[in-house]
Symmetry: C2
Subunit: 251 residues, 2 copies
Amino acid sequence: MFIISGKGTIIEKRPLARKLSAFVALSDAELSVLERLHKRRRTFVAGRDLVHQGQADQAAYILLSGWACSYKLLHDGQRQIVDFQIPGDFLGLRSVVLHVSDHSVEPVTDLEVTEVFAADLFEAFAQTPRLATALLWTASRDEAMVVEHLVGIGRRGAAERMAHFLLELGNRLTLVGLGSKAGYDCPLTQYLIADAIGLSAVHVNRVLRQLREDGLATFRDGHVTFDDYDKLAAFADFETSYLDQLGPLLK
Amino acid sequence: MFIISGKGTIIEKRPLARKLSAFVALSDAELSVLERLHKRRRTFVAGRDLVHQGQADQAAYILLSGWACSYKLLHDGQRQIVDFQIPGDFLGLRSVVLHVSDHSVEPVTDLEVTEVFAADLFEAFAQTPRLATALLWTASRDEAMVVEHLVGIGRRGAAERMAHFLLELGNRLTLVGLGSKAGYDCPLTQYLIADAIGLSAVHVNRVLRQLREDGLATFRDGHVTFDDYDKLAAFADFETSYLDQLGPLLK
């Protein structure tokens, strides 16, 4: 078995450690508690849900590689995608502390994850309360993103909403080393984006063409290119502070 | 100074203790740590914001009495109300763990609150990690509510959205002893409701009349009456599990 040792190595290898480091300067002891959460490795193929709306006793998962989406189904069959998850994100963290999961999680691509049970989390919190604070941070940041999506659907026009969506993903991916101000690889279909931002797939296509023709961003062949990052950010009124990536608040 | 003693008394007197008890069976030691968070009592008059979007070093507040609303302003002056807060809720819990607050909180009525600084919370977590888990629960439940609001604005018709909104508030108020399946006192104006559920005030008025004429619910003179709770819940496709009020998961 391959043993990971050394603080730099763990932060380098684990997107979650890298992400949490944006909030709390993790000590060696905290990193090794976090590392022990990574013991049950599992894989899921695209299309097979790993968290199920309405079910009890759900595990959570730490996403190691691949993309997923969290969504809710209404009784009439409509679906609202709440968010997409990228490496370093928790899948179903909420489901662990609620009696039954309020949402489902579906792989967008094949996934590598680590399975985490409620008891693992509570034990880790007891060992290092700062880790509990760090997880409260990830939950708060996730909530801040859902709030932005609510504001987007409630108040932003279609093109601004799309621009905001592409920028948010770019900034999140940059935090875990998978994107930059130049752009990022993106496996999402126009149908998935449509279900997330509340437009039809046809409308998504039209809005993406508009952003491309205006020289702002191009989404083509699984890659998003920021043709003019600053102009796009100004157009979307995109302000990064809710993503809280400024560096550790807790030293 | 009045000293609160005894587990029953604290749970009775403190809406937050009552609410957290829905998730974790709080021990005497945990209750007294929670009680120590209640040391800086403050009052705010209606209309004076107590959490400010874009500001750093924000305190959080535990709401003891009164109603508040959390909202975001866009650059063009539009406002989206994210949620209303009732006794037992945190105001600005997210703002404490993010570098700058992503939202503002405004009193709807005069408020009695307890001010809590980040350091108070982290100290409490170190003393009783189960309290950290309980706060992760409140943050998760808050997030589950924002997700429902996103689904509401994204997918529900105006009347269903209003019905869902009235039912959610009723269930939350019931948890802290301020409502029942018969109804509850509600200080919200139609303008506030409009900014929350993404309708115009005129539309809010029309939808409330429809619910009343259909014998489902009546909102009049600061009181919501559930004329037929079960029919209203069926109409709204309202399913309470995301509010997670089934009793403690953590014994």
